[in-house]
Symmetry: C2
Subunit: 148 residues, 2 copies
């Protein structure tokens, strides 16, 4: 999760919402990404989506059953859906998002009765650091826009 | 929807699951795509995701409020989430997917209480043609794998 947090810091430096994600396979990081929605002008360019695409490319298979995703907040419904579509083995996220979390916070996509994949969910690692980083970013954005 | 259907045919020719999507803006098709998960070895490369990325690039804005997405089946939770993240104005899909549909079939992501965007949903156009195409594809795949 520390690597995902470092990616979130890189996102902030690039003026992106500070969320980072890494994919681990056999205890090696095979994909590392941060949010790029502004830089790429692409609403689908979330950290998790980019990391999953890189990981599938690295493995040479779109099925990531043996992989673990680490992300600095609970994934949104789009990214949560991607964890199911990619059949990723485990999803580790730091803190829950009661507004738009797709893995238990606002909705539980992993509990869809007919889904053919239910990733294991692990939550809570580095939750204070990751939550504080995101809160600080939005606070600074708000204050900045009030002043300008 | 006819253009989306033609994209689905192109998908089949490329040995991909036959699903197609187009994005319309000011009555012009600005993005057109079909499933490429096998070709690109990428579980996120669904027709809707690719079409949304192309459309945002075309418009020069990740917010697609003035756009309409047409797709040959109800989007999965990942793609349904992408319609919310992109703030797309309308989603037109042909037939419901009670197993994995994210816009009413299996789950209703557009009804998330705290979501800041709820696209208008229009369904039913060309539902028989689109459903038949997908059913035929999977039937042929099953029979082919039994014979080999």
């Amino acid at each position: 999760m520390q690597h995902a947090y470092n990616e979130a810091i890189s996102a902030w430096i690039a003026d992106e919402v500070p969320i980072g994600a890494v994919v681990v396979h056999d205890e090696n990081i095979i994909a590392s990404a941060h949010n790029k929605t502004r830089t790429q002008n692409d609403p689908t360019a979330h950290a998790e989506m980019i990391a999953i695409t890189i990981a599938a490319n690295h493995i040479g298979d779109w099925r990531l059953n043996e992989c673990k995703l680490f992300v600095t907040k609970e994934p949104c419904p789009m990214c949560s859906g991607a964890t199911i579509m990619s059949r990723i083995g485990e999803v580790h996220f730091s803190f829950e998002d009661p507004k738009m979390g797709g893995l238990g916070g606002a909705i539980s996509l992993q509990s869809l009765e007919l889904s053919n994949h239910k990733p294991k969910i692990v939550k809570g690692t580095m939750q204070e650091e990751c939550r504080s980083l995101l809160q600080a970013f939005f606070q600074i954005q708000r204050l900045g826009s009030q002043k300008s």
